[in-house]
């Protein structure tokens, strides 16, 4: 039988709600509206008795229904008698109606004036700056103590990270770089062939990969791969109190977490960038040979003639600097992480977005710097 709740007005000024049938969360409960209207419409009733009649089965749906009725009665200051319900239901209703003690109200957001809002925003911004400055300060001190031979950077930790950011990153870097080289060659060969200058594809691909694309593509890949991993690992350690545990054990988290990561990435990124450039040139070569009648020898000779030692150094310097940026941002975002799983996600996202922005900005600055230096 379906769930039924019926409101009847008996003699005297007591209304009676009769509950019957089988109540289940998997089916729709009867409408509260009828009972509610009934209770609200009568001004004269002094109390309500709820009783079960032919109640076959019940679960939380019934409790929920009754709580709503109790609340209506509470707002109308009506007495409610649930004595006619099974014992279990009475107990659950008691539990459901208990107020949480004073604790909650003091936590409710007080309405804020615009001035207070501004104040909160400013203090949050101030705190973030303070964190940033502190982080950089500690990292610099960390570097200084390291080069004086006093920092406790663990060799094994460092090597594990190096492996993670070098050998394991090679396949993806190779794939992306090859394709980028291929794409550059494909679009430029069509244009250059119009002037009978197809051979200069080699120059274009070589310089583009060496000076710009190698570093940028590697930087973007490493931001998504390694920067994110740094932020997530350290963020999770914050959530698990592991970072606090480092501090209370007297181990500097700069030495233990930040320095190995910065060293590992700063040292390996130049190699990765070089690798990326070579693979990109290889990709360009494949495209050119496929599209024009250049031979491998011609292409290689042209490339070697086009690239200067400067281009090589530009790539290395930029690569190292990008590595420094990615690792620093990843560690900073990880250490700033809050105490929940969601915060780890936010920290990771923020690390990737910030690193990529920082890399592109830095690249633009390098471009200006190098052009004014004439490198």
């Amino acid at each position: 039988m379906a769930a039924v709740a019926e409101l009847k007005f008996t003699s005297g000024n007591v209304a009676q709600v009769t509950i019957s049938g089988s109540w289940s969360l998997r089916e729709k409960s009867p409408h509260l509206k009828r009972c509610e209207d009934g209770i609200r419409s009568k001004a004269s009733i002094g109390g309500i008795a709820i009783r079960a009649d032919n109640l076959e089965a019940w679960d939380s749906s019934l409790i929920n229904f009754l709580v709503k009725i109790l609340k209506i009665c509470e707002s109308k200051k009506l007495k409610v008698d649930v004595g006619g319900m099974p014992n279990g239901i009475q107990k659950l209703l008691n539990l459901a109606m208990i107020q949480t003690d004073g604790e909650l109200e003091s936590r409710e957001e007080k309405t804020k004036t615009p001035l207070m809002f501004l104040q909160t925003c400013l203090s949050i911004a101030f705190l973030r700056w303070k964190n940033l400055v502190q982080f950089f300060g500690e990292t610099c001190i960390g570097f200084a103590t390291f080069f004086r031979g006093k920092a406790h950077v663990r060799a094994r930790e460092f090597l594990v990270i190096v492996q993670e950011v070098s050998v394991k990153a090679l396949p993806i870097v190779a794939l992306i770089s090859f394709l980028v080289g291929l794409i550059i060659a494909f679009i430029s060969v069509l244009q250059l062939a119009q002037f009978g200058a197809a051979i200069y594809v080699a120059d274009l691909v070589g310089i583009a990969m060496m000076r710009e694309m190698g570093c940028i593509m590697t930087g973007v890949i490493m931001s998504g791969r390694t920067g994110a991993a740094f932020a997530a690992t350290i963020g999770t350690m914050v959530v698990n109190d592991e970072v606090d545990a480092l501090k209370t054990t007297g181990i500097s988290n700069t030495d233990f977490l930040v320095l190995p990561r910065i060293f590992a990435l700063t040292l390996t990124m130049p190699f990765l960038c070089m690798f990326s450039s070579f693979i990109g040139i290889l990709g360009g070569m494949c495209a050119s040979i496929f599209k024009t009648d250049l031979t491998i020898i011609q292409y290689c000779t042209q490339t070697v003639n086009a690239i200067y030692i400067n281009d090589f150094f530009v790539g290395i310097v930029k690569g190292g600097f990008f590595g420094l940026l990615i690792a620093t941002i990843g560690c900073l975002k990880g250490l700033e992480c809050g105490h929940s799983a969601e915060d780890v996600g936010l920290a990771t996202t923020s690390a990737v977005v910030t690193s990529i922005t920082a890399i592109i900005t830095a690249d633009a600055m390098f471009a200006m710097l190098f052009s004014s230096l004439g490198v």
């Binding site: 003690d101 004073g102 604790e103 003091s106 936590r107 007080k110 406790h152 930790e157 594990v160 350690m237 698990n240 109190d241 592991e242 606090d244 545990a245 480092l246 501090k247 209370t248 054990t249 007297g250 181990i251």
Partner: protein, 249 residues
Amino acid sequence: MTAKISVKNLNVSYGDYVVMSGISFDVQQGEVFLVIGRSGCGKSSLLKYLMGLRSVDSGTIFYDGKDITSEVAHDFYGKKIGVLYQSGALWSSMTLAENVALPLEMYTPLDKDEINEIATLKLSLVGLKGFENFYPSQISGGMKKRAGLARAIALDPEILFFDEPSAGLDPLSAKRLDDLIIELRESFGMTIVVVTHELASIFAIGTRAIYLDIDTKTATALGSPRELLETSRDKNVMAFLTRGTKEIE
């Protein structure tokens, strides 16, 4: 005699939200001092202040008579205090033995073999002999907690902080842990500050306890657990210590 730890008028707060206000107490050398109270009353937060992990807005904390609220001494962490976190907080990239060995590597001149021996010794004190080469992800929650304790006592610190050491342990392990706490206090003379809900532990190990009352947001009782049980006139304290079975009118 100056108290080992002395707290004066400390406020525990998160931003505008004040969890506890005006807490004052002293912890003497060689005590097992308990911080008790209902869930959410601010025990873990209080411990964070004592360990210098949160900066104090209002109030002062002294260790051996020295104020640490503005600056902690350089040997404060590591040698002076050891901490067991509520979840163990083992470093997940290292085995249990390495977890215990790391503080030893940092702070002692011992050679590798000796460090390993001591790590094994500490692990066997908490009943984890044979688990040296396990990673934290390979052991149960209760075992993580015990390993965390082994790490906390790696350097034989002067003061130990425990956040709910026996929560999540089976009754026998909990009893063993209590025995270990008493042992640490008696043999090494360590000062131990414990946050706990476990009534059995409270009466077994505590020399004195402070009760943080969640309703009034202040500390409402301070004394030995027995004393509190026998003489306290505060109905929340009594309800807490008797599991709500004895009421004060």
